[in-house]
């Protein structure tokens, strides 16, 4: 295979993004969905860093990725707290049962 | 790592034909094994030391019986081969896995813990050149890798599928996570003074004799930092006064209850490796790492590169002795006391030292 270039990283990030999305779309358990979301964020980060490397932008990409990681951490904490509360309310964490907003 | 590969490729040995990647794999494996064995050996030694020191502290002899008939070593006595015997015992012991447990996790957990600890050694400075990978973010890397051990502990607790081991795992994980914060903060103090995360930079900053060691700079602050760091890392290793998770009557061995045989040995090994890691880490940060305490006194004789690993290891052993010392003297902390010291004592003091050093450096 040819030398690893930018495209490789982009493909990898796309693949990870897609897998993360798949997890979000198909997993019944809320926590797994959260994991999926984390994966999606990481995929995005790969993109950022790949571009910060291959297009010299004075590490902007990396800084952005750093902030993504920070917010992801905050998000995960709050999300998990919410999931816990959902569990208290509904005695189950399955997303397909949480459809009280159905039309 | 890159130079090694270049060197091998250039040396016309049979290896130079291989592609860079293949060589890289070979070197990875090689280094891994080396460190694993070194760690194992040190662990054995420390286990033996611990048993002897703790015994003598408690005015008893400790293991004396197990010696070997091997001509040279025969007359050492003092049961020096005790740990060898233990090791053999553990290796031969039946490896029981609770039936409802998750077999794979049960297997992986100890290795995650062990890898986390061993990986940290790759960054430790045994000499100016004697560093496996001289990372620019050396210290930060150590902190990051040690956080892996939390996962290992949790998985171990979970994999043994018994509520108490899970609780024990949870508790030790919580303990590790919460003590990570003060140790991280304190590292900041040193990094602030040195201005770089590279171990060698930190160590060289302390060159020039005992007085240049960080511990003595900014007089009280760095010392406090050292103490906080020492306690925090001790707690992260789940040792001594902070080894509550194993100590509870119901929790027995904490998350390692369901482990036996080789996997338990891994746990044991990783614990002592962790102690050794802490030793080197602290000596590098506070006690001047591989610099000789005598500085230029004896004509810089002791500063020669050859001596560097000796100094660092001596300092590490001293710290380890201190840990063992603490273990057999101080009573265990209750869980709330444990959490209290972490959040209400160590973290605030860490902040104080940071601010103090920060201000101090400004003026």
């Amino acid at each position: 295979m040819m030398a690893v270039g930018l495209n490789h990283f982009l493909v990898l990030s796309a693949l990870l993004f897609v897998l993360g999305l798949l997890a979000v779309l198909t997993k019944k358990n809320a926590v797994t969905v959260l994991m999926g979301i984390e994966l999606i964020l990481n995929a995005a980060n790969i993109n950022f860093i790949a571009f910060s490397r291959y297009a010299d932008t004075d590490l902007d990409g990396q800084l952005f990725a750093l902030f993504v990681i920070i917010t992801a951490a905050a998000g995960a904490a709050v999300a998990l707290a919410i999931v816990l509360n959902i569990y208290k309310q509904m005695r189950s964490v399955n997303l397909d049962e949480a459809d009280t907003l159905a039309g | 790592m890159q130079e090694l590969i270049q060197a091998v490729q250039n040396s016309q040995t049979f290896l130079s034909g291989l592609s860079e990647a293949a060589l890289a794999i070979i070197f990875f494996v090689l280094f891994g094994l080396v460190f694993a064995t070194v760690a194992a050996v040190c662990a054995l030694v420390f286990v033996y030391l611990e048993r002897k020191i703790s015994a003598h502290m408690q005015d008893r002899l400790g293991p004396m019986e197990v010696n070997t008939g091997i001509p040279l070593l025969k007359n050492i006595g003092h049961g020096w081969a005790q740990t060898l015997a233990d090791a053999f015992k553990l290796l031969l012991k039946e490896d029981i896995v609770p039936n409802a447990a998750d077999r794979r996790l049960h297997l992986i957990a100890p290795f995650i813990l062990f890898c986390a600890v061993i990986a940290a050694f790759s960054v430790m400075p045994f000499g100016e050149k004697l560093v496996v990978s001289d990372m620019n973010i050396g210290v930060f890397f150590v902190l990051a890798i040690t956080s892996f051990s939390v996962i290992g502990v949790i998985l171990a607790g979970w994999a043994s599928n018994n509520k108490w081991s899970l609780l024990g795992g949870m508790r030790s994980a919580a303990q590790i996570v919460s003590y990570e914060i003060p140790s991280g903060l304190v590292v900041l103090v040193i990094v602030m003074q040195v201005g770089s995360l590279r171990f060698n930079d930190i160590v060289m900053a302390q060159a020039g004799g005992i007085l240049h060691w960080h511990i003595f700079q900014f007089f009280p602050l760095n010392l406090i930092a050292f103490i906080i760091s020492f306690l925090a890392t001790l707690a992260e290793a789940n040792r001594a006064p902070f080894d509550l998770p194993e100590a509870e009557s119901e929790l027995t061995a904490g998350f390692a209850t369901e482990y036996s045989g080789f996997k338990w040995a891994i746990f044991y090994l990783s614990e002592y490796a962790n102690m050794f890691l802490i030793g080197i880490f602290l000596s590098a940060l506070f006690l001047g790492g591989w610099t000789s305490p005598f500085g230029s006194l004896f004509g810089g004789f002791f500063d020669k590169p050859g001596w560097q690993p000796v100094w660092i290891i001596l300092k590490a052993v001293a710290i380890i002795f201190l840990q063992m010392w603490l273990r057999w003297t101080l009573p265990r902390l209750r869980v709330d006391q444990l959490m209290y010291t972490s959040w209400k004592v160590l973290t605030p003091f860490a902040f104080v030292t940071i601010f103090g050093v920060g201000l101090w450096m400004l003026f």
Binding site: L21, V24, L25, T26, D96, A98, D99, T100, A102, G103 | -
Partner: protein
């Protein structure tokens, strides 16, 4: 001066009528004295007026006074009083007879429950009759004509509880109306052309030739119809015999002297109007009426019926006289007839009064000793009407016959000769049936013993008028005054080009004389013939009337049934109208109601149709739309599953779709 008198003469009865009708009951003696005294005052005034008019002794005597009554845009209708010799005579006759009848009624109607109202009706009648003869235009005549009709209706139907009386009243009124309608059309015809109602103006216009030829003749005949109706001439005479249902004085006043004379007066007043042809018609009708009435009178058994038919016959004479140009004769006969016919009726009245309201001659007989005054006056009147020389009747009837003969000789037409013949024969008949009645009632043996015994002479109030009338019957005929004063008007009199004395007057004088003597001889002969026959049958009883009636049963029945006129009218007019009304009824019911019902059914049908379409289509449409929206809503709702992951899936799907579309587009 004279006009004021006349106005008072006309208005006094009206006033008395007003008082009488409202306060009659409360007046002493139920107010019978009021109208009677008023009538005598009227008689006095009319004598004064007559005196003044005749003292002038001028055939051209004429006083008129008129005032504007109604202004209709351009045309103004004038209303006024006309007084000339004819009016004076008529005034005298009417007031005389009316007052005598009032006097007679006091006795006759004594004890009647509606006594006061009777006198009120009498004064109403007098007012209308006096008004009629003094007015100077067509419209006025027509108004009083109607008033007279009404009062005759009221008086005939006075005893309205009697079914026959009310029927008779109605019959009289309706038949009169028929005539009145004809008259009214005539008046309108004249007005349409001459634009005026006034007599003199109309006659002037006719003289000027504005109204002439066929139109003039038709107008004349139409006006004559009114006269036929009122004076009970040939086609419209049926009501008079039935009118006998009313009280006898009424019959005497209305059906003998005055009202029936109105028709003759009208013809007289408007004589100029009638063209040659019209006169022929008038004469014809007159003669026929006379003949028919006479024949029917011969077989009548009721005394009042006999007198009624004799009246009709005498009126026929008058009309015939006018028809043949005997203007003077006709009117003279009117005057004389008024006297002796009123007498005859009052006489019959007292007979009936005496016999306690028994009118059938077969119940009477031999009353001459019981009722000496009544017998004597009745005898004089009978002789007068039969034309016994020396009495009033002879002179007037002879004049008529002479006039007709004269006309016959003048025109030499067979028509006029036949007329003369018939008139002569009728005169005989008249004599016969009058003396038959006389002998049946007063001579022979009394046929109803019980009533005969009760009979007694009528009281003073009743006998006085009889005697007065008797006197006038005797003296009325003498004197040329009538002949000179009441001259036959001709067109020239009214032409604007000044009054040209009728040069022709002398010529006719000679011819007249010849005819006169022949007529006189013949009339006397026939009169005494008639009397002789009557004596044969009823006085000497040589032949029995019954035998004759059986032998000629057919003719007898025919006559007895009054020539079947009533049946004829019943069959034609009455049933015709009934049929017509039934037809109209049927038409109305079926056609119009049918039409209405059908339209109703049509509308219901249409509304039903529109209703259902509205329901089915409009509502259907609305419901369909609602259902569709409902369906959309339901399907769209499916998408809202409530599951977050489903939403993300949809979003991404859409994103991909758009992306692909965008690619395809580029």
């Amino acid at each position: 001066m004279i006009v004021d008198y006349v106005i008072w003469i006309v208005l006094l009865p009206l006033i008395s009528f007003a008082i009488q009708i409202f306060f009659g009951k409360r007046l002493p003696r139920q107010g019978d004295w009021l109208p009677t005294s008023v009538m005598f005052i009227d008689l006095l005034l009319s004598l004064i007026v007559a005196g003044k008019v005749f003292s002038a002794y001028d055939p051209e005597f004429r006083i008129t006074r008129s005032f504007e009554w109604v202004v209709l845009g351009t045309t103004t209708i004038k209303f006024g009083i006309l007084i000339d010799n004819l009016t004076a005579v008529m005034l005298f006759i009417v007031t005389l007879v009316s007052s005598l009848v009032h006097l007679f009624s006091i006795g006759y109607m004594h004890g009647d429950p509606r006594y006061s109202r009777y006198f009120a009706y009498l004064s109403l009648f007098s007012f209308s009759m006096l008004g009629l003869i003094s007015v100077d235009n067509f419209l006025g005549i027509y108004m009083f004509w109607e008033l007279v009709g009404v009062s005759s209706y009221l008086l005939i139907g006075f005893w309205f509880e009697k079914h026959s009386a009310s029927n008779a009243a109605k019959k009289a009124f309706l038949v009169n109306r028929v005539g009145d309608v004809g008259m009214f059309i005539g008046i309108l015809l004249i007005f349409a052309i001459t634009h005026t109602f006034n007599f003199s103006e109309v006659f002037g216009k006719i003289a000027a030739g504005e109204l002439s030829g066929a139109l003039l003749t038709t107008a004349g005949i139409l006006i004559f119809c009114g006269a036929v109706g009122k004076s009970a001439q040939f086609p419209l005479h049926v009501w008079l015999p039935d009118a006998m249902e009313g009280p006898t004085p009424v019959s005497a006043l209305i059906h003998a002297a005055t009202m029936v004379a109105a028709g003759v007066y009208l013809v007289g007043r408007t004589f100029v109007l009638y063209s040659e042809h019209a006169l022929l018609v008038i004469a014809g009708i007159g003669t026929i009426t006379a003949f028919i009435a006479a024949t029917i009178a011969v077989v009548q058994m009721d005394i009042k019926k006999v007198l009624a038919y004799s009246t009709i016959s005498q009126l026929g004479y008058m009309i015939a006289a006018l028809g043949v140009g005997g203007y003077n004769a006709g009117l003279f006969h009117l005057m004389t007839h008024a006297f002796f016919k009123a007498l005859l009726f009052l006489g019959a009245g007292s007979v009936i009064h005496a016999m306690h309201h028994e009118q059938d001659m077969r119940q009477m007989g031999g009353l001459r000793h019981k009722l000496p005054v009544t017998f004597a006056t009745f005898l004089i009147a009978t002789m007068a009407i039969s034309g016994v020389p020396g009495l009033a009747g002879f002179f007037s009837k002879d004049a008529i016959l002479a006039a007709s003969l004269e006309k016959a000789m003048e025109t030499g037409m067979l028509y006029h000769y036949t007329i003369f013949a018939i008139l002569i024969f009728t005169a005989g008949l008249t004599a016969f049936y009058m003396f038959r009645a006389l002998f049946l009632t007063f001579y022979g043996t009394p046929r109803n013993k019980e009533k005969f015994d009760h009979a007694h002479e009528s009281p003073g109030t009743m006998t006085i008028p009889l005697v007065a009338l008797a006197v006038f019957t005797v003296i009325g005929g003498y004197g040329k005054w009538f002949e000179e004063l009441v001259r036959k008007p001709n067109l020239q009199m009214f032409a604007e080009s000044g009054a040209v004395q009728d040069a022709t007057h002398a010529a006719t004088e000679a011819a007249a004389h010849g005819a006169h003597t022949i007529a006189m001889v013949l009339s006397i002969a026939f009169a005494f013939g008639g009397i002789a026959v009557a004596m044969l049958y009823y006085y000497w009883n040589k032949y029995s009337a019954e035998a004759v009636s059986k032998k000629f049963a057919g003719i007898y029945n025919f006559l007895w049934n009054k020539w079947y006129f009533d049946e004829l009218y019943q069959a034609t007019a009455v049933r015709g109208t009934l049929l017509l009304s039934k037809a109209m009824g049927w038409f109305d019911l079926n056609v119009i109601d049918g039409l209405v019902n059908n339209t109703a059914r049509l509308t219901t049908l249409i509304s039903f149709g529109s209703g259902t379409t509205d329901n089915r289509i409009v509502d259907g449409l609305v419901n369909w739309v609602a259902r569709i929206i409902g369906w959309f809503g339901a399907t769209l709702r499916e998408i809202q599953t409530g599951r977050v992951q489903a939403y993300i899936l949809m979003a991404l799907g859409a994103f991909i779709l758009l992306y692909v579309i965008q690619l395809a587009m580029v």
